[in-house]
Symmetry: D2
Subunit: 279 residues, 4 copies
């Protein structure tokens, strides 16, 4: 089963600017047989970097005033790990791998310390495990309206609770916030999402259950076994599609994803889905 995807980004650069892009598909076992190309124009002095643990792939591009464009395309075989959700337990803090403890801490857009009372009151007494994280996603889907334009780059999960509205970024941040407040490691994931309408970059989250990270999408806008990971971070700041040090205005991105074996209207999986062979 083959997935083909890509994106076109275009900027009108207004000052000498450094761009850091994070749009390339991560080189994971789940993204098998990955072949991809990225073209930046003008493309002088582009640098590539793959972060050692999370395997996020970044491009750093120095740009002068004028038009900057990036074209990315990739082909891969999506090979996810599946499990029965009922088998996935929460891991007590005493037994969590030490390297995961930072994923319990509050971050800029994830004030899990301030929202601890809310999380405990709403979810503290629920049965633990995958079903509790699912209950969090259900709560978010029931209580937060998906409303383009209702939030911005400074919106925190606390504000999303107030606003009762947000976009995929806010849905993911809120899910992460609740998980961390309950002692469940959680992190932010950017991806290409098969079936997302209209096509765009997508953001979901991963919670650590059993012995690895599992995907959750409180927006319910795409099947979990059609997500192709770009990056993971503690919150959206670490995996922005584009970070500009300087100035420029973006055209709406063009994003596409197709797969050979399925249509978006097929029945969605009820399996738990992980993109990691090993935690």
């Amino acid at each position: 089963m083959t997935v083909k995807l890509g994106c076109n980004l275009t900027y009108e650069v207004t000052a000498d600017t450094i761009f850091v892009f994070n749009v390339e598909v991560a080189r994971l076992a789940a993204n098998a047989n990955l072949k991809d190309t990225v073209t930046v124009n003008p493309g002088a002095n582009v640098e590539f970097y793959e972060s050692p643990v999370r395997r996020n792939r970044y491009l750093r591009v120095p740009a002068s005033p004028g038009t900057l464009s990036l074209h990315y395309e990739a082909e891969l075989t999506l090979d996810v790990v599946r499990a029965d959700p009922q088998t996935l337990a929460e891991v007590p803090v005493a037994e969590l791998p030490f390297s995961l403890l930072p994923y319990l801490l509050p971050t800029r857009f994830v004030p899990s310390d301030r929202v601890a009372g809310f999380a405990q009151a709403e979810f503290g007494q629920l049965p633990k495990g995958h079903q509790r994280v699912s209950a969090i996603c259900n709560w978010i889907n029931d209580h937060i309206a998906y409303t383009p334009g209702s939030s911005d780059a400074e919106t925190t999960a606390a504000e999303t609770i107030m606003n009762r509205a947000g976009v995929c970024r806010d849905f993911a941040h809120l899910g992460i916030t609740f998980c961390r407040a309950l002692g469940i490691p959680a992190r932010y994931v950017t991806c290409y999402a098969y079936g997302l309408s209209p096509p765009d970059f997508h953001a979901v989250f991963e919670a650590y259950l059993g012995d690895r990270w599992w995907l959750f999408d409180p927006t319910r806008q795409a099947a979990l076994d059609g997500l192709v990971r770009i990056g993971v971070g503690r919150d959206a700041a670490e995996v922005a599609f584009a970070t500009l040090f300087g100035g420029g205005t973006a055209s709406p991105p063009e994003v596409w994803i197709n797969r050979s074996d399925r249509t978006p209207s097929d029945v969605w999986t009820t399996d738990a889905i992980s993109l990691e062979g090993l935690s």
Copy 2:
């Protein structure tokens, strides 16, 4: 039916300080036959003030380092207005008395503008009128834990939603916030509350329905027809029991209230209760 009540306040004053107290019972029709005395020691240069519209009674007391004490006692006949809650409708903004429009605006501890999305999502579709304000009180009572020490003098209603905990001040602020966000005028009320255990000053709120202000207590800690009003304000800042310009530490206040006709364990009224003969 006679109510007797009072309080003792004691401060260790650490610098030249101006105290503004608001502990005297308001001279309302509902507080009939009011006889009261206030004694401040040392009591030089104490000034009394009754605000013209709200009828809050303030004392201004200049104090030097040392002990300052205030003793207040009052006797009155509580004579409230009663109504069948089902008869009390919300008043469209087009028909509200102009002088009430400020009670729709956000204030320091009542960020009704920021919480508008939350209020609309939770209560926007409910049937209007007294029952909607009751639904707000039920929601608060169900979702916020009454927890002494969980908040402080800077806590806003937005934070109370996050914390899912508060005291009577926070319960009242949250009720006011939701009402204002829905277009219902609401204000903060301080009172002596018959049956409150342990005895203390109490805070509730009033919403404007039909043609006057009606009492609501989301804490459900005292019967509505046993509340003796001290002050009303747009939020707690305006009717603090004591405001200090200077420095001092308070002993826990002693507060008492007794009535001749009833015990705290009597069945509570289900009437709507107003303290105002005229709006």
Copy 3:
């Protein structure tokens, strides 16, 4: 000396909406010989209200979907009170008129309690009186960039300190915040401002010194003796030019003001200016 001023406001109303306007010149001694007319189209069921103490004039207009326009024009003789700034002392809290104490309290956009440390550190040791409020205005003018579009209707004075940018509303809120934190009553003033370029509604603030309210404009965009008061409030929420309960989009307002005796390039007064004969 005669002032002629006015405004045109136009809205595309998208739902049944109640408008509350506050654009009429206040009937103060300072606004002598006031003759004005307001025309609303369509103008059915327009109500007028003048608040009893502050003398703000409000219009309530019910509107259906379609175009709503308001035309206001006024003529008056501006007759301000002048004083030598050096004669204007701060009033100790012990001596303030009781009715002014609310102007020391924090409000939604004026978190004077949270910014108290900042205010004390920056201005607490300065010589008291008019010169201290002037020092506050100088600080604001030196440290905050006047930047249209840098703030919105939810911006508080605390955020203005962070942003180091704002518009007249933010400059006024910040001045009020610092004054209140220092024990100086202060309030928000909306006005027509002679010489403001481009012409627009303007916001400044008043501080209570000596025996009345005195004008301050930290933006320094217009001479103080060319301000014609519309409204005063505890913060901007109370004196918005237009408050909509419903939905609509505004065209940019047209605002004008001319005077018979002066040009905008004349030397500005260094007098302290008050619009009130009596406090």
Copy 4:
């Protein structure tokens, strides 16, 4: 030159609790010849972990209700890197090692995005390099009062600006915030600090200049060449001395540090000091 240091921590544990401690000296070239021992009582099932890049050393201790104590002592030869501050330049974003880019991002207690306007206005035009970070430290020392008890575990750098008061944690967060807002990577450092009075754990920050991280202490409470690093993190959350998952109350920690070659009253270094041989 030999440094001897240590700490005693004691807790009354009130529920089954997981402690994560970060009090051991980092195994850096600067902390040469390190010999240390840590004793936990009761000490069953204690786990040790050293993070791979930052080299923070954590202990995870499961505890039952009762008394938990930790005794740590260490001996080492402090061997810092020194440089002439004037030689240390800021590194353009285009040239920063990729792995340092996360140290430009906002975190929970370091809202560098929200304070960007403040940082640019105050420091944006200053000469770049070590002197600019020194100017930031000077500003903090001049404007923020070192006031024990003025902040808590949720205080952000934005609030520290409002309060104009804080402790070492707040001073460090504010320095980091300003640096990141200016494009200078910065991170939070916990340490034992020779000469700190009274002895306690200390927090400072590092900024990346030239080719490595350099120490800065806006509190000016200890000489930079007497700091022995415990941990580094993006903000205080990552390197808390103790994080409790459960419940307990701490006695005041006992902390000590002595060195063989110097007294606290010796002249402090004016060198730039780094604890890293390689960036």
